[in-house]
Amino acid sequence: MNTKIENKLTPVRIIAFVFVALWLIVAMFPFIWTLWGSFKVQADFFSKADWANAIFGFHTEKQTGNFFTIDGYYGSWIEEEFWRAVINTSIVVFFTVLISLTFGTLGGYALARSTYRYAFWILMAGLIFRAMPHMTLVSGYLQPFFAWNVWGILPTTIIVLVAINQPFTLWMLHSFFLNIPKDLDESAMCDGCNRFQAFRYVIIPIMWPGVITTGLFSFLLAYNDFTVTSMLLSDENETMIPAIASFLGTVQEEGKVMYAVAAVVSATAPLFFLVMFFQRQIVSGLTAGAVKG
């Protein structure tokens, strides 16, 4: 009986349907358009005369003989050496996620199990730290980093990203560990384990769902960062996002905007697959903080 009501087509449902359809177009169209356009030449992608050119590749066919070209990708990856930025991004992201999660699980576990008042204060400090615009922190790093001669190298950026990531990681893993019953590790401790052994043999085997979810968000933070990476990395150590930003400066004048378009699509593709495979975890991660308040 319930299903019958749910499937009835009322005006409200039609409005809702149209509204969601509109949103989907707004959300998806830019990506589809850019992905398709990245395989065209500039005269098509930026076609003032007729937007249909970008779909059918009128100029692309004239210039390259085929309505489909990978010139933009060749130009950005090989000529402009975008592959270097991709390698740098991989290094930065991998180590940021690894170190963030290691520090975060230890800290989050302790915060969830401590009954003292200072645990609350640490979480509050974390909330304040989370709110700090990254640019304000970066402006404090430059002088000391120049003085110590650690500016421009990947390890510095990695540790800074870990630190900036820490408040969020702590909050998330703290609320995740609160959901694991205390009795589990406490009974292990009754059996003669110390706190570290209880953590190692009881908590670690069951913590992976929460850690993976948190790891996804650490990944996103490191991958998407522009503020820190653009200010703290030298040109040869540049990661993808600042590389795209500097493309814009150099490439625009030379009529090579398609290089930047190809680079943008290349940087978006991994995120696309990430959402595809980890949709459930991302949704649960976004709501985890909210539902617990």
Binding site: A27, F103, F129, P133, A163, F226, A290
Partner: protein, 344 residues
């Protein structure tokens, strides 16, 4: 948990936060109180039979020595805060005296970088946040009404604008609204005006940035509200239906109160994220018409030949102060909740 074990567990995490978040905040403050050394200049007079000539040169050795002695620069007190790059107190006083109307006064103030950046940042924050909340809620209601089969793909598509790197996402939109891009060219055709450019007009630039902001953050509020809708108690809805409440009344009096705590959580996150708006300004190259506080700091550090550490420091401190004000209500509330919980 024992204090010592707690310390061991949290030590790595706390030390990175202390070293790279807490100390930089303090160092930014100190930085803002100092000013770069002036170069030491030697004036020498060369006299020859035809007359005397004075030449000036930079004494690099003395300058370097000065820098070594006080690497932070000369102590400058709060003067950086009051100069024309920041609060511009003197200039404002003058503007107040010389303007004949309030609007003229406001226009004059708007010329100073900090006020410019603040006005955009605050407008952006307080326009984007309510829109994101409201539209996200509507989409969540809409998706909740969809047949089950469509829900998964809808959520997948909705997540993309949020997950994609802000710089990249705004670039994608920027290319589309470009005069030759698909949206820009179409708009020109619709209004039959070939010079119509979203980039040239200040108002349209602001609108464009805010539309981007809404597009980027709406998925977040949608997902959280959608998750919240799944937890609305069925019995209450049924009871309201039996009592004759219409669909709208049920939403208004049952669903919305139930989602209120979530709305507060979303607002908090949105305020924090919107206040640091930065990347879209780079992507849209909007700095001629719209600058944000984060952009201002970046500009102090990057655009000039020598980074203006003192100016960046002062702007950062002002930013931190504003963030503090934004967060204050939440902190007070949490503190109260915590105390009540401990008493109970």
């Amino acid at each position: 948990m024992k204090h010592s074990t707690f310390l061991l567990f949290t030590l790595p995490s706390l030390s990175v936060m202390f070293l790279f978040i807490a100390i930089p905040i303090v160092s930014v403050f100190i930085q803002s109180l100092h000013i770069e050394h002036k170069q030491v200049i030697i004036v020498s007079e060369n006299c020859d039979p035809f007359g005397c000539e004075t030449t000036t040169s930079v004494d690099t050795e003395a300058s370097a020595k000065l820098k070594e002695k006080a690497p932070l620069g000369k102590f400058n007190g709060f003067k950086t805060y009051s100069n024309r790059m920041h609060f511009a107190f003197d200039e404002i006083g003058e503007a107040w005296n010389s303007s004949d109307s309030f609007i003229a006064f406001v226009k004059k103030i708007y010329n100073y970088p900090l006020y410019r950046a603040l006005s955009f940042t605050l407008t952006y924050t307080f326009v984007v946040t309510p829109f994101v909340l409201f539209l996200g809620f509507l989409v969540a209601l809409g998706v909740n009404n969809l047949p089950k089969l469509l829900k998964g793909p809808t959520i997948f598509a909705s997540l993309l604008p949020m997950i994609v790197t802000p710089l990249v996402g705004s670039l994608i939109l920027f290319w589309m609204v470009d005069g030759d891009g698909v949206i820009g060219a179409t708009l020109q055709k619709i209004f039959n005006d070939n010079s119509l450019s979203l980039k040239a007009s200040p108002v349209l630039t602001w609108v464009m940035l805010m539309v981007y902001g809404i597009w980027h953050l709406m998925p977040f509020s949608f997902i959280v509200f959608y998750a919240g809708l799944q937890t609305v108690p069925h019995e209450t809805i049924e009871a309201a239906t039996i009592d004759g409440a219409s669909k709208f009344q049920r939403t208004r009096h049952v669903v919305i109160p139930h989602l209120m705590p979530l709305a507060i959580f979303i607002t908090l996150i949105l305020l924090m994220d919107n206040f640091r708006v930065f990347e879209p300004i780079i992507s849209f190259r909007a700095e001629a018409h719209a600058t944000s506080i984060s952009w201002l700091i970046w500009n102090h550090l990057r655009e000039s030949a020598y980074p203006l550490y003192n100016a960046a420091g002062a702007t950062s401190m002002i930013t931190i102060f504003c963030v503090g004000i934004l967060l204050l209500p939440v902190l007070i509330r949490t503190w109260r909740d915590f105390n009540e919980k401990n008493k109970g």
